[in-house]
Symmetry: D2
């Protein structure tokens, strides 16, 4: 059985991530998902303030960009995993390089997410960090060298060894976690390279959020990943 490639879109706090534009990009992502008949998994991660609207409007999984490592209660300004679930989201990102967490907080969040039935996509800036995270057994790990984030220089093409080393290090400790490639993913070729290097897909942001044609960008990346998976053949599959 072959894995379905993953295309996760981090909306960050871009102007296009708030209000009507967020919903429009969410709908574009959903159209791409439907066009490929489920042969690619598309995830959207809007800001907290748009979470419920997108979760209620879309069929594809909506993730939060972060969760606060706290229990519900007297925690002004915090969003515990329970609030994310209640808003209809299916999971959350954690430890993105723009919102790094303490190790004990990542542990709290992966554990709590499991208990609540939420998926976790934990980011790592480099292979060794990814390896340590893999021990905590999140659902997905995205390896994103922060120096490439937002540059348009894709890690999968500029530093393929970071991707392959991440995969081999992570697999020493965790056989099943889904591995994504992030940072600088801008084109169909970048997404294709991510799959050919042995990961299950990509975590993208500015390439979609700053584009005048986000749907076209999402579509071309999805198409490239589906093709790359096909090319790898039935026996291989991705990590």
């Amino acid at each position: 059985m072959r894995r379905v490639p993953v295309l996760a879109i981090n909306f960050k706090a871009y102007d296009t991530a708030i209000g009507r534009s967020a919903l429009n990009i969410g709908r574009a992502a959903e159209r791409v998902y439907k066009e490929f008949l489920g042969s690619v998994q598309v995830i959207v991660a809007p800001p907290f303030t748009e979470l419920r609207t997108l979760a209620e409007s879309l069929e594809i999984p909506v993730f939060a960009q972060h969760a606060d490592p706290v229990e519900p209660g007297a925690r002004t300004g915090s969003i515990p995993p329970e609030a994310i679930k209640e808003a209809g989201a299916r999971g959350f990102l954690a430890n993105h390089s723009e919102r790094k967490l303490r190790l004990d907080e990542i542990l709290f969040l992966t554990r709590r997410a499991r208990a609540l039935g939420l998926a976790t996509l934990v980011c790592a800036s480099e292979p060794e960090e990814a390896a340590a995270i893999s021990v905590l057994d999140p659902d997905m790990i995205a390896v994103e060298p922060p120096e490439l984030i937002g540059t348009g220089i894709a890690v999968s093409r500029a530093k393929p060894e970071v991707v392959t080393r991440s995969v081999s290090l992570i697999r020493k400790y965790n056989e099943k976690v889904t591995i994504l490639t992030g940072a600088g993913i801008s084109s169909a070729e970048d997404a294709e390279a991510a799959v050919l290097l042995g990961t299950s897909g990509v975590l993208v942001s500015s390439a979609v959020m700053k584009s005048k044609e986000p749907e076209r960008v999402i579509n071309s990346m999805a198409r490239a990943m589906v093709r790359a998976i096909e090319r790898l053949g039935p026996s291989l599959g991705s990590s």
Copy 2:
């Protein structure tokens, strides 16, 4: 001209602050507002994930509980003031003792809020902190000794001197900022005492959020404050 007393409700991250219950409490607050024909100002502050729903459903002002001191852009997991405004909120709390901020961050947020037309309610744990905050000219300051938060022991009755000292210290630096009393406010008497001590109202949380009859609690506090203002007479008014 007499000031209208303020009743601000911080939903925090209580179980009752998420989902359908949040909207129900918001509607209860609105009913109280309407019953008193605008002679009391009622503000509700739900978590980020409920902000848009409440802002779209209610006429009374909805505030966020926090704002991240960042500009829109590549800031995963952050909620800039712009996202709060776009969600339809009229302002935000900042520097609550459960989410303290650096001084430069409070400055960033009060300034940005002014530029966006958002109101700010900045919390202080003690009179001296409130005095320093008053220099930054927020719209409202709530003085909340953290040791009383959630205890049901109201600062306005257990430590009235903290309230009066806050008022006199703040007024040395800022003549017009609205001053609220917070921490432990549980009853109509506590709210009344807050007004009689010279502040413009209260910031409450657990007394409402953990109550089985939140509307009754809100109603009785509103009524007590309206009466207290009347008793102070036309010439006095509150701070």
Copy 3:
């Protein structure tokens, strides 16, 4: 070959940790080390402000209690590992529950320490956290359930399963890291239990720092660990 048990003393910021008293406790620790002719390893960890004095005065290894995950340069108020080395220390603690670090910071520090020839003693609050840390390959890991720190209730006697589970989890990922038991270690019996449960020694603090006879406490713990190691016999050794 048998391992030498480790007795690491975290001075924290107790009154007894500053000034003349810090040096006195350091000297007491050194006398114990000499009395046992090197059959126990004694480490002292004073505050930054006492680091150089103790390092220059003692032969036993002196560790810092923390290091800032930064490079030397324009970092006001920070203490990079280089400053710790220059002060004559042999290593540092990191990620203590009173000074938790982000995962990427622990990675930075373990890597930098290796490059500088400094030893690292990384703390973990529970077995899963310890396991993730073991992937980063520090020299020592101390498992300290924070709820027992400072209580006088030793983890090695109150929650022996936390210790044994830590050892077995860590050993899945790292065969050689030295494992210490921490939190609530107060007596010779607690230290003995730590060794008998399969760890290489203890990380203690209040039992020494708040004692009127710190040397007696250190001595009795050292003696108990040496005996426990002997009892385990030549073939077993500790983790």
Copy 4:
């Protein structure tokens, strides 16, 4: 009576700030102090690890670069004001743009310092922040626009209006706090301008710490400030 100008040297964590070099620069600063027969106040602020050595070796005041806003006790890795005092220092910097603090922490530290007889030099990044800090009544405030720190472009010459606006804003709230100019101060002219703009001196760092002739730099700045004060005449004095 005329004020004595202040030349405060922040060693930061530069390579030259640790070990023998730190003491050498401290001694150079002391020689300058003595050359001007006390008509300039020279303060040195080395890292925590060098604090005691410099405090014990020098007659001029030695400050820490930071203090942790905690009481002595079980606080691994923290340096409370008490430890700074015990090391022989006379005060500490706080809220430097490289180590920003929460408002409540600045309040804790200024208050604790007063109780211990330690002086405080609190940094601010801009005039409004400085004004809020002045309400907490520290001994000195240094206004340092962070965008100029380390550039060699002196705020006193590139943005004189920031300095004069800081002085006038601070003086609305606090008549006696000593005001220093910081950020980019590199030359005797920069130091002179700081005094002529109405402040009591400068907070410098890289110009001294990265110089091959630190004593010459310190000397020329001291001389320029003494002359500027003389030029202002007996009636004027500085802020």
